[in-house]
């Protein structure tokens, strides 16, 4: 079953001769348990692709379906609910709240959403990601790699069906980058989520089940 599906999705910015087709007609689907990479140079439209997939941006044409529900016609409030429930974001700049400890970053999600991981699953998550000792620390006390691992924990904690990662390894050295990809792969397989990683770093494609290449707004399966 397709967890995420895009049907003839198009996105243009501007009008008239200033009109730019950031994303040309795209058909895309992702299955449960797949780790997918979308690679391409900056400005190729991969961020547009990610934000449309994540319900942050509405497409100009076409339909986006998450678990077979069309999200292209929803308003911002409804989209916000979908993002909270179905999607876990891992962002380039760490998406942590500076004044919350690692433990409380996750607890914040309990305040706004039910059906997050229970205590046992959470302990396992801490263990898998190797951040159990960091739970009392603030983001400013963590290294880049540690922050990214906490960001992954945060994305996974809400039990989303899709994880969208935007350059998750951008601020990391190679060893750390591989480590993060390894973690993402393990979590994708064990939690049966769908993970889409957008990156310009082709070294990461070895970890992925499918690789798409984005060139000038056109998405192609490699």
């Amino acid at each position: 079953m397709a967890v995420l599906e895009m049907k003839q999705v198009k996105k243009s910015f501007g009008t008239g001769h200033k009109k730019v087709d950031a994303l040309k007609e795209t058909n895309f689907h992702a299955e449960q348990g797949e780790l997918i990479a979308v690679i391409g140079p900056s400005g190729s439209g991969k961020s547009t692709f990610l934000t449309i997939a994540g319900g942050l941006l509405s497409p100009t044409n076409g339909e986006v379906l998450i678990n077979n529900a069309n999200i292209s016609t929803l308003n911002e409030k409804q989209l916000s609910k979908i993002r909270l429930k179905e999607i876990g974001f891992i962002l380039q700049a760490s998406n942590l709240v500076p004044f919350l400890t690692v433990e409380k970053q996750l607890k914040l999600l309990d305040k706004v959403k039910k059906d997050n991981m229970d205590k046992e699953q959470l302990e396992q998550l801490y263990k898998d990601l190797g951040i159990g000792d960091l739970r009392g620390k603030y983001p400013s006390d963590l290294s880049g790699g540690e922050r990214q691992r906490v960001a992954i924990a945060k994305a996974l904690y809400s039990n989303p069906s899709i994880i969208l990662a935007d350059e998750p390894t951008a601020s990391l050295d190679s060893d750390r980058a591989y480590e993060v990809m390894e973690l993402l792969k393990e979590e994708t397989k064990s939690k049966k989520t769908t993970t889409i990683v957008v990156t310009h770093d082709i070294r990461l494609v070895d970890y992925c089940d499918k690789v798409y290449k984005m060139v000038d707004g056109v998405l192609e399966l490699q």
């Binding site: 916000s80 993002r83 909270l84 876990g88 974001f89 998406n95 004044f99 914040l108 305040k111």
Partner: protein, 355 residues
């Protein structure tokens, strides 16, 4: 609440500064309200003590007790539940080494405006007075003989009573005959009693008198027309109301700056699907926490200062008023947070992701 509190705990210095500013504003508000209250009672406490509904003065006195004078037998024309005669005169009272502005009240000891004696005894024969106990602070004491500025008559303090100041002057209560001798001289005694007004308790002010020369003035109106009273309380209240506006603006600016600094963080949270409403409530909760702490500390500080002030400073704290002002301060602070809430609602989560 979760976000609000955790942020305060993480950035203690920053939020202590904000609380400090709010505390100072609250302190000023409370202190001014104490001063307004103190100055007001300086003028009105003797009148408040009557617990009367109205006072009857001559029409031509223009609501001034000092300027009113008429014969006491007009009491026959008064229709009220309770009526008390009152003669009033301003004078300077002095002993060998003290001098004070006083207000002499000539009353009948059997009527309801007779004060309770807190020290010594009531006046029983002529030229004895019960003095307001604020005179004690000026060095007057029981048994003192007072000579007066306008007459050869002397008065003797035989008792003290509390809360007895009228238009900022301590009151000397005496009988109507003594009042007449002081005001009009020896020869006036024995003729028709001349007094300044009737103090009445009644439910129906319109029915009090049909004498054309007499005016019935509601107690509150009477107080407001005391010289300087309205001007004084308007000035202080204006300052207090202005402080409410100032504190709202201060909170608005502080929170707005803090919110602008956090725009990208809020954006990320919104991208993750945390509702704007939750973030907005968190800012409101934070403001309420900061303002409440500021107000409580300000209140404590005010009462502490009040305890150490010399009695010459006319502050008197009215706790219910202060509680209301404190509440108003918290509410206007929250109004100040509305700006930030609007900013949060408008943040585009897409921008935070840099898409």
């Amino acid at each position: 609440m979760f976000l609000a509190w955790n942020e305060i705990m993480k950035n203690k210095l920053r939020f202590t500064l904000i609380i400090g500013v709010l505390m100072l504003v609250a302190y000023l508000v409370f202190f001014l309200s104490g001063l307004a209250n103190g100055l007001a009672s300086l003028n009105r406490e003797a009148v408040d003590k009557w617990d009367a509904d109205a006072i009857v003065l001559t029409e031509e006195s223009d609501q001034s007790l000092t300027q009113s004078s008429f014969a006491a037998d007009l009491v026959d024309s008064i229709n009220a539940d309770e009526t008390a005669v009152l003669g009033q005169l301003n004078a300077i009272a002095q002993t060998d080494d003290q001098k004070a502005n006083v207000s002499i009240f000539g009353i009948d000891s059997g009527e309801f405006i007779m004060p309770e004696v807190t020290e010594g005894s009531a006046f029983t024969s002529g030229n004895e007075v019960i003095a307001g106990d604020s005179l004690k602070d000026d060095g007057f004491k029981l048994g003192d003989t007072l000579s007066l500025s306008s007459t050869e008559e002397t008065l003797e303090i035989v008792g003290f009573t509390d809360e007895a100041r009228f238009n900022a002057a301590p009151v000397l209560y005496t009988d109507v005959e003594t009042f007449e001798r002081v005001k009009f001289g020896e020869e006036a005694a024995g003729t028709d009693r001349q007094i300044s007004g009737f103090v009445v308790r009644t439910a129906d002010l319109a029915e009090v008198t049909d004498e054309e020369d007499l005016a019935v003035i509601e107690t509150e109106t009477f107080i407001e027309s005391l010289p300087g009273y309205t001007e004084q309380s308007l000035t202080l209240n204006f300052m207090i109301y202005f402080l409410f506006v100032i504190s709202s603006v201060i909170v608005a600016i502080f929170l707005y700056v803090l919110t602008v600094q956090k725009i990208s963080m809020f954006g990320v949270m919104k991208a993750q699907g945390i509702p704007s409403g939750y973030l907005a409530r968190s800012v409101i909760a934070q403001t309420a926490i900061l303002a409440s702490i500021g107000v409580v500390v300000g209140l404590g500080l005010t009462l502490l200062t009040g305890a150490f002030l010399p009695s010459a400073v006319p502050v008197s704290f009215d706790i219910p008023t202060m509680l209301i002002y404190g509440m108003v301060l918290i509410v206007v602070a929250i109004l100040g947070a509305v700006f930030s809430v609007l900013t949060i609602v408008k943040i585009d989560p897409l921008k935070a992701i840099g898409g």
